[in-house]
Symmetry: C2
DNA sequence: AAGATATCGTTAGCTGTGCTAACGATCTCC
DNA sequence: GGAGATCGTTAGCACAGCTAACGATATCTT
């Protein structure tokens, strides 16, 4: 049985998490700027680097974005020499996106810079708190996966 | 002393939190759309509703945005009748922003809808996990405050 | 084999968010 | 009363998101 009280708690917690996510990203946006990469480009580049060569359509789906949007994000990345496009030999409708060496370097550097501020704050935590926050992050990830499945 | 190992853990945790925040908001963006309010407008409206009458500049600072950006966000809200502008009598450079009754209704409805998906996932958690996640959310909020102060 | 249909990525054109620079209006301090 | 500070707006730029429409290519049907 899901009591009314429990329901209220869940709603409050959901609200807190939502608010925390918004403010966290607002803070980190400044670090993004330092790398010269916008958040969407950085996110897409990350998928290309870690997700190997990938078609534009797959990338758009992975980033929850429509194809025309991804076309322009990739164009921006390519202009900066961070990715490379190449037609698929078997199916010539497809365009495969590859990360360049420079793309990988910039991604790693950018991510480190962006996360640095947050990591600094994390380091100031006590040992117990660090463990608790780690557990919270794990649960949060599971929560997000559960939402994705339920969708 | 901050060991190298601890530093690496902090970085990994920071990275997880960052990634979780991104994906959480991507999922919730769809719910935002249903209310007809973009995320920035919804966020600003929230500050106006709960933060009482507020000047445009204060609102811009609260939302971590420059004044010209806030001018247009408020213009959009006003066009939809969610907010009302009124010059301050004492200092006529100031513009005070008030929420309308409609604005309050739409905010509450929109927030509920947006958070519903997340709350549903939260409700599926066990009692212990709920408590752990709550603790994690609290720590996260403290972390963000600490970042804001350190900035 | 040829034509109909489906899929992929791009282009064109719209809305909205973010910024800086420059400005007019107003307040404050000397 | 004048100099300088503060507030909000306007103008103009870049980027991200969307839909609609299109050309090129694959695939299915007959």
């Amino acid at each position: 049985m899901t009591s009314r009280r429990r329901e209220r708690e869940a709603l409050a917690l959901a609200d807190q998490l939502h608010s925390a996510a918004i403010h966290l990203l607002r803070h980190l946006r400044k670090e993004d700027d330092a790398s010269g990469l916008s958040a969407p480009r950085l996110s897409a580049l990350s998928v290309v680097v870690f997700g190997g060569p990938i078609t534009l359509g797959q990338l758009a789906r992975a980033e929850q974005v429509k194809p025309p949007t991804m076309t322009r994000i990739v164009a921006g990345l390519e202009k900066d020499g961070l990715v490379k496009k190449k037609g698929d030999a078997r199916d010539r409708r497809l365009t495969k996106i590859y990360a360049t060496a420079r793309g990988e370097r910039v991604l790693v550097a950018g991510r480190a810079r962006r996360v640095e501020l947050l990591a600094g704050a994390v380091e100031r935590l006590g040992k117990t708190e660090l463990a608790e926050l780690g557990r919270g992050a794990q649960l949060l990830r599971e929560l997000i996966d559960s939402m994705r499945r339920a969708q």
